[in-house]
Every structure is written in C-alpha cells, then in structure tokens.
C-alpha cells in the first residue's frame, strides 16, 4: 500500500513503515514543522511502530531538521518502537557525525538493510 502525503512517500511492508522524504532540501522552519507533524501523526497511529526514514532524495538539511529528528526519535522510543535512518548522503552524514547524532540514531546504508534492522 502506498500513500502520498506532502513531502513524504509512505509504504508499509511486513509491519515496517518506510517513509521516504521527498524534499531535496529540508531547511526552512515551515517545511520542517510540516514534516515533523506528518511524521508524528504516523507514529501516533501505531504503538511500537517500526519506522524507516529514507533520505535518498535529501541533499541538504539544517540543524532544525536534526532537532525535529531528535524529537521524533524520542516519540518512537516512548511508544516502544524503533526508528532507523538510511540513504543519508556523505555530507549530511558528516553533520550527524560532527554533532555525535550518529551515536543517537540507528543509521544503515540502504533501505533493505534499514527495514531488516527496524523489524528485528
């Protein structure tokens, strides 16, 4: 089943929800707030959600986007779920490393690997 919402492409397979962020740049406050709200709604739909966030289209992110992800990660964990990130470009991954957020988030290279990790 595939559902298209603004800025997100959502697919659920084998109890894992995969959300592809479709914006190339996640920079401004308005966009980040919209994406954050949409992701929170997905997390609120099911306790213990197994969630993969796919960054394959994303080439730029701001610190506000990182903040939104931290809040999302907490929500997922509080609901007993698991969040795994994947397809993060090297420059964006560098931003995770600089801020030590690579130690906070589970990050996998590709979508299949991330989905397997989220399901485990």
């Amino acid at each position: 089943m595939e559902n298209l919402t603004p800025r997100l492409k959502v697919v659920t397979e084998n109890d894992v929800t995969v959300v592809e962020l479709t914006d190339r740049k996640i920079l401004d406050e308005m966009s980040i707030a919209q994406i954050g709200e949409a992701l929170s709604a997905i997390v609120a739909e099911a306790d213990g959600i197994r969630l993969v966030l796919d960054f394959i289209s994303v080439v730029h992110m701001s610190s506000s986007a990182l903040s939104m992800l931290i809040t999302l990660n907490k929500r997922v964990r509080q609901s007993g779920g698991r969040l795994v990130l994947c397809n993060i470009s090297p420059p964006i991954h560098e931003a995770f490393t600089i801020t030590r957020l690579n130690e906070v988030f589970e990050i996998r290279v590709g979508r299949d690997e991330a989905a397997a990790e989220a399901a485990s």
């Binding site: 920079l27 401004d28 730029h60 907490k74 420059p91 931003a95 600089i98 957020l101 130690e103």
Partner: protein, 141 residues
C-alpha cells in the same frame, strides 16, 4: 560583492541564499564547498531571523558576501540584542546529546574555516577557503 538588507522573512532569506550560492557556483566552487556555505548561511540567517530579530518584520537582516576565487567571506547582522556564543551549551556532551537545540553554531564552525562574532553578538562573520573539503568530526580539530 553582494550586500543586501532583507526583511525578517524566511522567503527573502531563501532568495538571498540562492543568489549567493549561484554566485559561488559561477565562480567555480564545487559541491562540497557549496554544501558547506549553504549550511552555514542557512544557520546564520535562521539564527538572525528567529533568535536575533524574533520574527519582527519591522527589523532587517543585513548580509554581505564576498565570493572570491579562493575564499568566501559572509557577514550576517541582525537588529537584536545579540548573544554570547560562548554561553551556548555544547550539544555534543553526553547530557545534551538528545536535546533538540544548539547545533546550528556548531555546524557553522565545523563547515566554515573561520566563524567569529562581534562584541554585541548580533553579527556573525564566516569565511571559507575554496576546496577545503568536508569538515572533521568533533574532537579532531
């Protein structure tokens, strides 16, 4: 040299960012350099609009960008009271790792070669050499 005074407005900030990045691309800056400049400029503009001018449309953000063949220098000045950058908590210490704030200045410092503030703390000046590569992780500077 690009010198502009823009309203406290995210759309105006985005337009100016694109103009500066377009100039950098025209001068020959590569993807890594442009990624770094964009990230630092976005963070500086967001800080000026949100924390400096507090979204007050009566206030302006003044930006100057000198994009040379070997080096880019950008200054972003707001009309707020200013702040002490040394007082911003380090987001990479264990107790702050999961706090959703405080990473903008750290990213600016990591991606640019030089970042400094005026005494009042309402103006940031950033410089980057062309082709100086991706930044090093925290603790390796």
């Amino acid at each position: 040299m690009i010198e502009k005074s823009i309203p406290t407005d995210l759309t105006a900030a985005r337009r100016l960012t694109e103009e500066i990045l377009g100039r950098a691309e025209a001068v020959g800056y590569g993807e890594d350099d442009r990624f770094a400049i964009r990230l630092a400029l976005e963070e500086a503009l967001i800080n000026a609009i949100r924390h400096g001018n507090k979204f007050d449309h009566a206030r302006k953000v003044t930006v100057s960008a000198d994009i040379g063949a070997k080096r880019t220098t950008i200054t972003v000045c707001d009309e707020g009271a200013g702040f002490d950058p040394a007082a911003v908590p380090d987001p990479t210490v264990d107790e702050n790792l999961e706090k959703p704030c405080g990473r903008g200045i750290m990213l600016m410092r990591a991606y640019m070669d030089e970042v400094s503030y005026n005494t009042r703390g309402n103006e940031v000046r950033m410089a980057k050499r062309r082709c100086s590569g991706l930044p090093r992780p925290a603790g390796q500077h």
